[in-house]
């Protein structure tokens, strides 16, 4: 099990400074073109071969979990966007589900369907960034721009529903922040119709490209047992052959009613992670189509719970009803108070299992919030995968693990 350990940066730097090592210690990052943000890697190099690598995280620490303790439950939603900034809606969902569990609140069907559709679009958008940056890290530069062209359409859809392109904060405790706009359905329809062909285009460029195969097949292999021991989740785990997907294992927001498969790899190398994520793009498109069809069948209806203790009443009610005015006042001045207790919810974010654990002391603000951030845990596998490989593989490995540093550091 010793290969699963993660050295500290100091362990590698100190002997080199004392001149006890023949190998070279290279400091990659935090400002490096391919560390996907502000990851610092201390790499012990023997020529071009990586002897050991120590990831040093914390350069993007924003204290999100602590800040949440001073925000009301509803206000804290906006902080979740800032963690995994490539999949803000998945984070929103994870947090919102935990609070809803605490409150035992019912969410209308229409809101749940919209949540499914939007989180699947988030998954597509996030995987597109992964695909683009992964290809860019191996210098297949054009794929990056093609992937971002499609992501742009997804961001446009987010802008349409929430007004923001990245920090959407569109999911609220009890449902959605606003109703879906009128041209939402046709816009999504257009995107999904063209997207299938786009995936084929990416595959044409990469899947059978000999150089791409050279760089990815058999590189960074990890066994299923090691992956589980390190706590890998998401595509990184599924590429090793373990069909674990929260949407199937512990279905939430009605995923059990959708027809989709879980793509699973065999070898656990970079190429399998690539194949799994590409297949997930197709599966997400399939789910999004089903959700879209359901939304077309219920064009109007509640988008947020009718429980006035949680969601504010509509504007026109406030002018007529004293009770509504009081609810509005209470919600805006102090927020809702969940019962004393704790709740955990987990969703399948694009990067793996994103979990939220909330402890409530009965006040309108959470006593403690903790996130199980998949990027942080997946990054643990980097030293294990990278030892004995080449420096160039290290770059490919970071890309294939697909960490988002905002989420790693929180």
């Amino acid at each position: 099990m010793s290969t699963l350990t993660i050295p500290s940066p100091h362990e590698l730097i100190a002997p080199a400074q004392r001149g006890e090592r023949e190998s070279m210690v290279l400091n990659m990052g935090p400002h490096h073109p391919s560390t996907h943000g502000v990851l610092r890697l201390v790499v012990d190099l023997d020529g071009e071969t990586v002897v050991d690598v120590a990831p040093d995280v914390g350069f993007l620490h924003t204290g999100i979990e602590k800040t949440m303790e001073s925000k009301t439950y509803q206000k804290a939603v906006v902080l979740t966007d800032r963690m995994d900034y490539l999949a803000p809606l998945s984070n929103n969902l994870s947090y919102v589900l935990a609070v809803e569990k605490l409150l035992e609140c019912e969410v209308p069907e229409r809101a749940q369907t919209a949540r499914v559709l939007l989180t699947e679009l988030t998954r597509i958008g996030s995987h597109l960034v992964w695909l683009g940056t992964h290809a860019l890290d191996l210098a297949a530069m054009s794929v990056f721009l093609y992937a971002f062209r499609e992501r742009e359409q997804i961001l446009d859809i987010f802008e349409l529903v929430s007004g923001a392109r990245m920090m959407t904060s569109y999911f609220r405790v009890g449902g959605l922040a606003y109703d879906l706009p009128a041209d939402f359905i046709p816009t999504v329809q257009v995107f999904l119709d063209t997207f299938g062909q786009r995936i084929d285009e990416y595959e044409d460029l990469l899947t059978n490209n000999p150089l791409w195969l050279e760089r990815t097949v058999g590189v960074g292999t990890i066994t299923a047992a090691d992956a589980i021991a390190l706590g890998l989740t998401g595509a990184n785990l599924r590429a090793t052959g373990v069909p674990y997907d929260m949407r199937k294992m512990v279905p939430y927001i009605g995923y059990e009613t959708y027809d989709f498969d879980v793509p699973v790899g065999k070898n656990g190398d970079i190429y399998d992670r690539y194949l799994v994520r590409i297949a997930e793009l197709r599966q997400s498109r399939k789910i999004a189509y089903q959700a879209l069809e359901r939304l077309q069948q219920m064009p109007s209806g509640d988008y947020v719970t009718r429980d006035r203790k949680i969601a504010p009443p509509p504007k026109h009610e406030i002018t007529h009803s004293m009770e509504s005015l009081i609810h509005h006042f209470k919600l805006w001045t102090e927020g809702f108070k969940p019962p004393v207790g704790d709740a955990y919810s987990a969703v399948e974010s694009p990067r793996g299992i994103h979990g939220t654990y909330i402890v409530s002391d009965g006040s309108p603000k959470p006593y403690r919030v903790h996130f199980r951030a998949p990027s942080f845990i997946n990054l643990q596998a980097l030293p294990h995968m990278a030892r004995g490989r080449y420096l160039a593989d290290l770059v490919a490995l970071i890309a294939s693990i697909d960490p988002v540093l905002g989420e790693v550091d929180r």
Binding site: L26, R215, P263, Y271, D272
Partner: protein, 425 residues
């Protein structure tokens, strides 16, 4: 050689140096615009019409950058490296014939190898009878600039880049040299001028298709262009050998790289694509000579041959940019393996095939060409097949896992329930 000729040579050299550096500036523009087209973008279009002033803006920017010399560097070598890099890149141009503008006013001499002494070509600086050797020598010296830059900077990234460059050059130099040697054999000369003339009616890329392919691959590696751009792999080494270089010193490296790229395209044109030749050029010259006399004919032939040469060079440059837009980068070890285990054997095979065919079928260019072309294509496909052998097409499996709650109730025989497996996609 009288004094006038010496002055003329100096002026010629100056003009070519300036032309080449301008060519470099516009190559950056060409590459960026072209790359943008490949990538669904627009590219630089703000400075001047179509962004044509962009190179000038870039140059001004680099001129006004602070000139930093790292304290830990070896200053003399550090300063010398970019000079060495750019100098070798420019010197290659001395032996390349860009066209034929006979200053003796007789265009027919351009097309006759026997009348070489009657040609005073304004479009070639030095007609050396070992031009090919000169090219091979100078392209190899160019790597010193990169290696020394990497070493003298005293920076880890730069050193890795420098080491990579020397390893890469050693791996590709042999295949490169052998590919060029097949041209020498087929053309029967070491002079660039005579190689161009020998390609009358038959550009060498047809009989030497294998050599041409080997030449293009190893030339890309020599140029450290994608997919062999390990030396400055941005994603791995931030900027590789030139990490510690800024301002005009960086610009010189950049310049050397792009000038080498044009030079390599020019060499490829000269060796394989008939140089400045163009079908019907001689007939055109004769026609003009009949109508307007020898001087206009010489001028027309000079202009058309130059245009034809530049067109072919632009074609090669397009290929280099195209490669960059579409291929991922190779890894250090894979590059060496490819060089030693794939390119070198193929180059040796090519070097055996060409003389054997020439000896077996003497004095018949067209039969030689047919045999060599068929053999070359067969070798290429054979090599591709062998290279692709053992590569299994992999797919993902589509699975329907059983939800966690149902596992214990459905299958309690084993602790981990087997998921139901669907068909593979």
């Amino acid at each position: 050689m009288d004094i006038f000729q010496i002055i003329f040579l100096v002026v010629q050299a100056l003009i070519i140096t300036l032309a080449v550096t301008t060519g470099f500036a516009y190559l950056t523009w060409y590459e960026r615009r072209l790359l943008a087209r490949f990538q669904n973008r627009i590219g630089p279009n703000r400075a001047g019409p179509l962004g044509l002033l962009q190179p000038a803006a870039d140059a001004v920017k680099l001129f006004f950058k602070e000139d930093v010399i790292p304290t830990a560097s070896d200053k003399v070598v550090y300063l010398l490296a970019p000079v060495l890099a750019v100098m070798t890149a420019i010197v290659i141009w001395a032996v390349i014939p860009f066209g034929c503008f006979n200053l003796n006013g007789d265009h027919t001499a351009c097309f006759d190898p026997a009348r070489r002494d009657e040609v005073w070509n304004a479009l070639q600086v030095a007609e050396v009878n070992i031009g090919i050797l000169f090219i091979l020598a100078v392209t190899s010296i160019g790597v010193y600039g990169i290696t020394l830059a990497g070493w003298a900077s005293n920076s880890k990234y730069a050193m890795l880049g420098g080491i990579r460059s020397s390893a890469q050059l050693i791996s590709y130099e042999l295949a490169f040299g052998m590919a060029v040697l097949s041209v020498v054999m087929f053309g029967g000369t070491l002079s660039t001028w005579e190689i161009v003339l020998a390609q009358e009616g038959l550009w060498f890329f047809i009989p030497l298709i294998l050599g041409f392919l080997l030449f293009m691959i190893s030339a890309t590696a020599e140029l450290v262009r994608a997919p062999f751009d390990l030396v400055e792999a941005e994603q791995e080494l931030t900027s590789g050998y030139n990490t510690e270089y800024g301002s005009m010193k960086f610009a010189l490296f950049f310049m050397s790289e792009y000038i080498k790229m044009i030079a390599m395209s020019a060499i490829a044109t000269t060796l394989f694509l008939g140089g400045w030749r163009f079908p019907g050029l001689e007939t055109l010259g004769n026609g003009v000579a009949e109508l307007a006399g020898p001087w206009p004919a010489a001028i027309i032939v000079g202009l058309v041959s130059l245009g034809s040469f530049l067109l072919k060079v632009a074609l090669f440059l397009f290929v280099f940019v195209w490669l960059r837009a579409s291929w991922p980068r190779m890894r250090y070890d894979q590059l060496m393996q490819f060089g030693w285990k794939t390119l070198l054997p193929l180059a040796i095979l090519n070097l055996v095939l060409v003389p054997v065919v020439i000896v077996l079928v003497p004095d018949n260019r067209y039969i030689q060409t047919a045999i060599l072309f068929v053999l070359g294509i067969a070798t290429i496909f054979g090599a591709a097949r062998i290279g692709g052998r053992g590569r299994v097409k992999r797919t993902v499996e589509l699975v329907q896992p059983v939800p966690e709650g149902q596992q214990s109730s459905v299958a309690n025989s084993s602790s981990s329930a087997q998921p139901t497996r669907g068909t593979a996609s």
